[in-house]
Symmetry: D2
Subunit: 127 residues, 4 copies
């Protein structure tokens, strides 16, 4: 079960460039670029997230934190599928994903000041 690892080194970084290149070659070799419009890829990502949600739908929150080995492996696979399409969309549209993520985290720091957001799950517009 390579997808589940506990070593810190294994998850330090993600070689986005390598993954995107492999996905690009995979798609090109099968002449699938014609299907890989951002519109279609967003649908594929939806379907994968649907499969992820299906694993959790009848579990309690607590059960979702303590998954069986089999369920953990399924979650790992669906997360990977979602990640693949997410990286593919970013590649096709030439979006610098890490920059976008870091920018969003900074933005969330402003939108959810600790003093107001502490212990509350309300949306920033309601704080």
């Amino acid at each position: 079960m390579q997808g589940l690892g506990h070593s810190q080194s294994a998850r330090t970084t993600m070689d986005v460039e390598n993954i995107q290149r492999r996905l690009r070659e995979f798609s090109a070799a099968r002449e699938w670029n014609q299907f890989h419009s951002p519109k279609n890829l967003s649908m594929a990502m939806t379907a994968e997230v649907g499969e992820l949600v299906e694993i959790f739908q009848w579990l309690t929150e607590d059960q979702s934190r303590h998954l069986s080995t089999a369920d953990l492996e399924r979650v790992s696979e669906e997360l990977a599928d979602a990640q693949i399409y997410l990286l593919r969309i970013a590649d096709v549209l030439n979006i610098a994903l890490e920059d976008a993520v870091l920018e969003k985290i900074s933005l969330n720091d402003e939108k959810y000041p600790i003093s107001r957001a502490f212990g509350s799950s309300r949306k920033y517009t309601d704080l």
Copy 2:
């Protein structure tokens, strides 16, 4: 618009460890870990993917490949949101995401042999 970059160096790798640590601290500082069960996070990811899909829903595939600057920025933001929740789920469940992704790419190589999958969008079970 930091989220949109064209330099190769900007997207070479993603510092997953750094992002997950920042998300962990963000959540801990607001006492939000109580809300961040994998079940809930998968729902949050669903909502973000829904916002991504909303951008594309009435566009043709071709239009989705050639977005306006405003739409490209919106896509970048929604992708970032989805990526944030995806990394958060992986962190909470201690899943080594890159390993899972690479494993899935290898699996897809077997499931979709070039000779059969060439130019076809059919699911591997139908090939």
Copy 3:
């Protein structure tokens, strides 16, 4: 708040034909039929379900059973949006929705025999 009703008579039946006719006329009057391919409508439905899920994402299951009036009204609106696209897809593809629903309920009766499914949320393939 017409969307929330307690009278039994109000929800006895749904005049699908009338709703689909109104949606058809609404779309035709705006020349939107060009956008209303089943593919696009399924994306629009995804976006609406994403908004529904967003209401519930940080709530406990118990809280989701006892919504505030404001949240209940929001759920009512998002359900209506999802229902509208669902009926529109059925209309565009000429699918007899009620028949499909009743057929599925009968199928589920077979897939989930009471003796095996009692108190279990496992999928029928795991029963």
Copy 4:
């Protein structure tokens, strides 16, 4: 293939009360009410919509309008699944769905005046 019908009479109305009663009995007989919180049901609906989207994801819009018999049957089944969970949520939360739908259609008439919305897929906030 009872799910696909062409007779107008077959789709005139949907007996919501009957369907909701059958779903209620189905759930009660299996002691599944414990799982049927609105939160969980919205996740189940997400998963079904994901399966619907999966059918359309690699099809062109035109292909989605002219489905094969097999794909049409699959769409019919996934629509039915989504409809079942939608009706179940409405029942559990005592929402008068048809009223909510009609209210929404009236609202859309105001938000999208024909003069401005004609031939445009822009969101009402951008009109």
